[in-house]
Subunit: 180 residues, 2 copies
DNA sequence: GCCTCCATGTAATCCGTTACATGATTAA
DNA sequence: TTAATCATGTAACGGATTACATGGAGGC
């Protein structure tokens, strides 16, 4: 039914790194993770409540100054498990948001045994995608005549091809880093 | 008012190129434009109805075989105008879906006077973005020690940097094509 | 005293996906 | 005849944005 609820896993991942408030979580989308995902506090607060009801997280109440209360959330064992399971599951490809990159963000140990599987999964996908796009370009724009007739369309296809090339070389770079 | 309703403009753009049915429109997301946007028929049919009510499009009824009726949609003058206005408006940056690329897809004349403005708008944005990301990388990962401590995070940032570099060189490539 | 930031929430609305539902046409 | 494709819709639900709403803390 509908979407994947990746935000849930992002929040779990962020809370796994350190316990924090909904306000803190909302802020991380302004920097860091904001490069790949977005979420507002109006989406985060209700979700935290639902996650707590599902026993994925729990909170403690801290008081700032005289009256101001804040809820500092942290993972439960179930939340921890749920997050690990998500990391291990195959990533959805090509969606608007890149799930692989999202997972990568949370793998902070270069020696994680998850990496090689995830990366070869991605290489396979992006190599196939690149080949498919290049074939498509050749089929649709065999000569400059076709390019001139559908200029924008050709640029957009070329952009997709460059995107895949960039993705591939980035993956290769990671492999090289890992081999050392 | 939630999102931007870019799908409306995509449909207008596709219908401007040639009049077609909702079924045809839905199919274009499987190839071509599917690289950058997605939409199902269950989203398209109701939207076409709303667009017709708003006098952006109109349809004629064609009959296939004995009984099967299909609605072939086409732009009205208002729809044409609405589409042109969207093309001319500044593109939203950085969202999950790239609005500039979307617009480009519909600019099939390499001599369009819209191109230079749009491209320099993009260059400005992506240059600034790249500089910002590089500064961020230097601040967060000054030495290999920090990279090792937050490996995934560093890769994700590097990916964003590579993405911007790729974007920039693609834009430069377009400029060179245009100068000839 | 005032402004910015911290902190938490709800409501309305729209966007997008999946599933349900139906029936005609065409080619193997 | 039967499977794939053409063709059009609705319903349910979840995800995401914008706006509304409130109030404390801390610095100048």
């Amino acid at each position: 039914m509908a979407q994947k609820n990746r935000l849930k896993y992002i929040l779990l991942g962020l809370l796994k790194e350190k316990k924090q408030t909904g306000y803190d979580l909302a802020k991380s989308f302004d920097s860091d993770i904001g490069e790949f995902w977005n979420a507002n506090h109006s989406q985060i607060y209700p979700l935290l409540k639902r996650m707590e009801q599902a026993s994925l997280i729990d909170h403690e109440l801290d008081t700032v100054g005289e009256k101001l209360e804040k809820k500092t959330y942290f993972l439960t064992a179930l939340g921890q498990q749920s997050f690990e399971d998500w990391l291990k599951s195959p990533s959805e490809m090509g969606g608007a948001h890149d799930e692989f990159i999202l997972k990568l963000y949370f793998i902070n140990d270069a020696r994680s045994h998850l990496l090689s599987t995830m990366i070869s999964e991605q290489e396979k996908y992006h190599n196939a995608k690149l080949a498919q796009l290049q074939a498509q370009f050749k089929a649709k724009f065999p000569t400059d005549k076709e390019v001139q007739a559908n200029f924008g369309h050709s640029l957009v296809l070329r952009h997709a091809i460059e995107r895949e090339k960039g993705y591939r070389s980035w993956l290769e770079e990671i492999n090289q880093t890992l081999e050392n």
